[in-house]
Symmetry: C2
Subunit: 402 residues, 2 copies
């Protein structure tokens, strides 16, 4: 089955989240993504969570649909092989994605000697080449100071590695843009993408730099409240919790109509001297709105709230922990075409997401398993580098590959 990127080949030298997620995103679109790792696995190969078998659920999650080759890149011969792989022929090959330092044998100019039109995307920590990871970027960019409930201890780290995810997806944008440029001009290039720049760009995009620099008013922590309009979490009668929001005028009207609380909200308007049709006024008077909504929701079970809110087109969602997500939410099941069931070696069958992008012109690729480490070593050495069996056997025997 052909994906939208079928024919394109990317070689990936990577670890952890950002670069592997980038490679996986392209693999799920049909690109041939070959990840090379040291024999025995790279530094992310045993990253938690682990299955009982010791296999990493994290590693298989981030390497779905790739081919895997294990090479001893500490040896000169291994580095030569990896270089040959990175720079192998083919008009849609010659794309290298890495978060390793682009120095030594991975220096772009050095690699380029073997393929003049090589495209190399290097995910860095900081723009000056110094180290940074999602945890050490996140603490620096202000969000932990404004995350968490009013009065609760700060800072609060995010658990979702948002900067890694954003960097991995940006890496895909960079590779596709560079490949487009190469098609038009024949020219390859090095592309640098610093993780901390990705975070800073988001901070800027959301207006938070201007809040400080222009308004001189950094945003305080507003807990679970949505800033600048109405949004807050509420407990239900049966001990669950829901997030309710009204950003647009239509969403606010839906909330008023569905709860039948127009009169109470009119009192809130008088009390706070606001016009609740204005989003900013809904933020100003959010405690008043919550004083009306809270008892209404607390008098109902989650199912009752769901039925009424869904029927009334209210913007809301239930809080679900991971177990509830998988057991209660059809979006996280194979009823959603996003998911397939994959039997992952060493781990067993479980539901696995496919590409989030659904292209009308091609069938979405089925859910894909991650490779076993070195599963495609022979296939890649033979198919991509054209090595004969006896040469591959020799490399295996001398533990240059595995």
């Amino acid at each position: 089955m052909a994906g939208i990127l079928s024919g394109m080949r990317i070689v990936e030298g990577s670890a952890f989240v950002a670069a592997p997620l980038g490679g996986m995103t392209l693999a799920q679109l049909g690109a041939d993504v070959i990840r090379f790792d040291p024999i025995g696995g790279g530094i992310d190969y045993r990253r938690w969570p682990l299955a009982d078998s010791g296999d990493s659920l994290y590693w298989v999650g981030l390497n779905k649909g790739k081919r895997s080759i294990a090479i001893d890149v500490r040896s000169p011969e291994g580095r030569e092989l990896a270089t040959a792989l990175i720079t192998a022929d083919g008009p849609q090959a010659g794309l290298f994605l890495t978060n390793f330092p682009g120095t030594g044998w991975l220096d772009y100019e050095r690699l380029r000697a073997a393929r003049a039109d090589l495209i190399m995307l290097n995910v860095l920590g900081n723009h000056d080449g110094s180290s940074a990871v999602d945890y050490t970027v996140n603490c620096a960019v202000g969000f932990p100071a404004m995350t968490g409930r009013d009065g609760a201890a700060k800072p609060v780290n995010h658990v979702m590695p948002g900067w890694d995810v954003a960097a991995g997806l940006t890496a895909c944008v960079g590779l596709l843009a560079a490949e487009r440029h190469r098609r038009a001009t024949g020219e390859g290039q090095l592309i640098r993408l610093p993780l901390s720049d990705v975070a800073l760009a988001v901070v800027g995009a959301l207006g938070m730099i201007a809040e400080v620099e222009v308004n001189g008013a950094p945003r305080p922590a507003y807990g679970n409240d949505l800033f600048g309009a109405f949004g807050r979490d509420f407990p239900t009668r049966d001990g669950r919790r829901v997030m309710v929001a009204a950003i647009s005028p239509r969403q606010w009207q839906a909330l008023v109509a569905t709860t039948g609380m127009a009169e109470k909200f009119a009192l809130v308007e008088k009390l706070y001297e606001v016009d609740l049709r204005q989003e900013g006024d809904r933020f100003t008077a959010r405690d008043g709105i919550a004083a009306v909504l809270g008892p209404w929701i607390a008098a109902r079970t989650l199912d009752e709230v769901r039925a009424l809110f869904d029927a009334g087109d209210v913007l809301w969602g239930p809080y679900q922990d991971m177990a509830q997500l998988l057991s209660e939410d059809a979006r996280a099941s194979t009823a959603n075409p996003l998911f397939g069931v994959v039997d992952q070696a060493g781990i067993g069958p479980y539901r696995v997401p496919r590409s989030t992008l659904d292209f009308a012109a091609v069938e979405r690729l089925p859910a894909l398993a991650a490779p076993a480490l070195g599963q495609h070593t022979d296939e890649v050495l033979s198919g991509v580098l054209g090595l004969p069996d006896h040469a591959i056997g020799d490399l295996r025997q001398r533990r240059v590959v595995a």
Copy 2:
């Protein structure tokens, strides 16, 4: 100055974060991104935070480098104009990015009647077409239950709209992949991208679905601790706070060597019966590690910690609120080539991020301002649709455009 995507034209019909961020990402790479909005602005045009002038810092942050045309799309004539814009000629045009419902006049098949090879990327809430926004997706996908300090009230919403950011970047991947496909085959297409699928795919990529489904062990909240290795936040002597992590063996060795606490860590190993060279063991014995590190950091100021940790290549970062980020961190200043200073009309000069991707083959475009609403109405009607001045004047007079 030419960006890597110069020549490509994208028409954007959008609001809020995901689709505008996607369009902006492409604009910052040199694409001609034309955003159309209702006369007077769309539903995100006054989104907080606001400048004293009433201009939205959020809106200008998410629309940098685009051209703006204001059209009354409630009128049949306005819809015709917008359709003509979306489907305008040009081998690198015919790309439409939207998070509006793809129904009515924005139905793909209807638009396609005017340009057979149209590429349209539709960011949806849920895959079934129902509504969802970052807030109502985030509560559903488990992270708020595991975010925040041990014992603190849950759930804790993230403040960074991570799903919107991921969806916006994925939209860029989708558009570039579809344009590549069109170059090869001549074929356009509709691409659907549901926001909640983006979140679920990340949950899956991080191994969190498998943690529940395979291991039957959803992850509890670990506060600011890094899961599966060592990472925690600590206060310094001068009342600041740092995040310290050791994921790789090298990072752990750096931490041990720099603090000079090898003997104490050996005692931790005996106490917990672990081998701290193993990342998982560092998680198991994290309280022991913290008992050694905590006093060492608490005895030093942030500057002292910084000097020692930087010299010793420790993986760490300071916590900074937004004001500290801008005043203390060179990465958030124009010393970092990411940033330029832009004088934004109605707002004033402030530092603005450029593209996070630095392509060697083209100069990085300067930091770009957002357009004023309708700033390019005449220019687009004339330059893209070829309308003569008198026709534009007539449209203006009848308030079809502004």
